[in-house]
C-alpha cells in the first residue's frame, strides 16, 4: 500500500500526461474530456462524502475503484495513488480517516483542474 509520503510525492496534476492527451486528441476533444473529468470528480466527491459520513464501506470501495484508474488517465497522480491506497483497505480496517484524506485530495485536484480548464478556455 502506498504510504502518505509516497502519495504526497505524486503531483496533483501531471502536465506531461495532459500534454500528451491534448497532442493526441486535439484541443476541442481535450477540453471536452477535461470537463467530463471535472464533472465526474464532483459527483464522486459528493458520493464519497456521504459514504464516509454513513460508514458505507462498499460505496467507498466502488468510488475508489473508478477513481484510481480514471485519475491516472487524466494525470491526477496524487488522487490516483490515494484512491488506490483506500481501495486496498479491508472493511475491518480504519478506512474513514483515509477516505477523509482522499476527499481533501479530490478538493485540491478539482481546484487545480478547474483553474487549468479556465486557462485553456481563455
Amino acid at each position: 500500500m502506498s504510504n502518505a509520503t509516497e502519495i504526497t510525492a505524486c503531483p496533483i496534476m501531471q502536465l506531461s500526461t495532459l500534454n500528451t492527451l491534448e497532442t493526441d486528441l486535439g484541443s476541442d476533444t481535450y477540453q471536452h474530456l477535461l470537463s467530463l473529468f471535472e464533472q465526474e470528480l464532483t459527483e464522486l466527491h459528493a458520493q464519497l462524502h456521504i459514504a464516509a459520513e454513513q460508514h458505507q464501506f462498499q460505496d467507498i470501495n466502488n468510488a475508489t475503484h473508478i477513481l484510481k484508474n480514471t485519475a491516472a488517465l487524466y494525470g491526477a497522480d496524487r488522487l490516483s495513488a490515494c484512491a488506490a491506497s483506500v481501495y486496498q483497505l479491508k472493511s475491518n480496517q480504519p478506512y474513514i480517516a483515509q477516505t477523509q484524506q482522499l476527499i481533501g485530495i479530490i478538493n485540491e485536484t478539482l481546484t487545480q483542474y478547474k483553474a487549468h480548464i479556465n486557462s485553456i478556455a481563455e
Partner: protein, 482 residues
Amino acid sequence: MNTTHKPLVYVVEDSLSSGALYCSQLQKAGFDTQHFVDGYSALVAIKAKMPAVLVQDVCLPDISGLEVLKYVNKQEVAAKVIIITSNSSIDVAVDAMRLGGYDFIEKPFTSERLITSVTNAIKQQNQDLKTVEVEPTATSLDRINFIGESLSMHTVFRLLESAARSKASVFVTGESGTGKEVCALGLHQASAREQGPFIAINCAAIPAELFESEFFGHVKGAFSGALTDRKGAVEVANGGTLFLDEICEMQLNLQAKLLRFLQTGTFCKVGSSEVLQSDVRIVCATNRNPAEEVGEGRFREDLYYRLNVIPVVLPALRERGEDILLLAHHILKAKTTENNKQFENFSDEVKQTFMQYDWPGNIRELQNVIENIVVIYDGQSVQPDMLPSNFGHNVVNQAQYSPHNQMAQTNISTMASTPLRSQASTPEQSSAPNNIIQLWIVEKNAIEDAISQCGGNIPLAAAYLGISASTIYRKMKSWAEN
C-alpha cells in the same frame, strides 16, 4: 460525403470520463464508437446492433462484464470482446478469456495498447466472417495440421479452435515429442496473425547471460561483443506469434521481465532506455508440470497465470490408442514419398508391436523409427525384422492392446518404463560380447564430440546433430545425475 465503413466499437466502462477518453482515442484511430456506463444499456444496444468489437470493463455497477461476454458469445455473429481490468481483478480476466474473450488489457493502459488490440480484433473478426462466407463447413481447426481421432485429441482440437480465434496466451504442456511446436505453429497459422511472423525461442537453449538480448534485442555497445544494434525476438515477432519453448527453464529475473512485457506490451532493448512497443501473441510450452514448478518456487506464479489463460495438454502417444497407427500410416506415406520408395502399409505384427510399445519419445520417436525403416529397407509392407534391433524389446507396455498375447503381458509387467541405461545393461548381464558399447555411451561420446568440434557452442552442436539443444541439456543433466 465519406462513405467509408468504419468498424463499430462499443465501450462498456462505468467511468464517464474514462469511457469518453477511450472512445476519443478510438475515433481518432478511425473507429465508430459508442459508450455505455453499465451492462444493461450495453446489452440492449448489442441486441439492437452487434458491434465488431466490444471493449468491456469487468467490474460494472449492475451486472458483471462476464455476463455481457457470455451473452455476446451466444449470438450467431459475435463481436470480439476485449476485457479491460485492473490488477485486482486479473483472475476474473483469465476467466473471461476462457469464456471466449479475445484479449485483455490491464488498466492503466496506453492508447497505443488499446488501438492495437482493437485493430487486431477487427482483423480476426474479418477473417472469421470471411471463413464463414467462403467455407461454411470449414473451421480454423482444418488449418491446424494435426492428426488424431482419439477422445483426448478431440479435446485438444476444441481448445485449439477457440484459442485460434483469440489473442489469449496459450500454455502447451506435454511430454517431449508430443508435438508442442507443431501445435504452436498450427495456432499461428489458424489465427488472424497468420501473415505475421512466427518466432520460436527455446528458453533452455539460450545461455542465461544472452537471454535478455535474444529476447528484447540490444543496442550497439550495450556489452562487449554488441557491435551493432540488434532486434530481439519480441520485436521481430511484432504482429505475429512468439513461441517460447521450455519456458520453465527461464531464469526468475528474466521471468520478471517477460511478465512486465506481457502486462504493458512495452520493452527496452539492452543498453537503451527507449520504450518500444510490440504486439505479439504468446504461446509457450514445457514438458514439466508448470504448477509444480510454481509450487517449488522455480516459476513465478503471476507469470504462470498470465500465460496459462488457455492450457492445452497434449497427450502422450501411448495414451492415444488407434492414433498411433493413424500417425504411423501418415508418416510412412510422407517418408516413402520423400525417399522415393514403395512402402504402403505395416504388417499385422508390426502394428501390434506399435500398439504395445510405450513410445517414451512420442511422435518424434515414431517418426525416427519409420524413417529409419524407409531409408534402409525396400518393399511394400513394413515387416517386424525391419524394426531397429533395439526397438520394442525393453519398454513394451500397454497390455490393453495385446489381450491375446499372454507372453507379451508377462514381459510388459516386468519391463515397462525401464530407464534407458538399465535397459542397455540387460544384455551385458547375460552373455553379450565385451566389445559392444552401451548405446547411451555411444550417444554421449557423439554429443560431447560434436560440442567440442563446435567450440562448446551447444545450440550449434545440436543443429549439426539434428536434435534440439534442449535435448542435449536434458541428456547432460541425466549423465550428471547418474
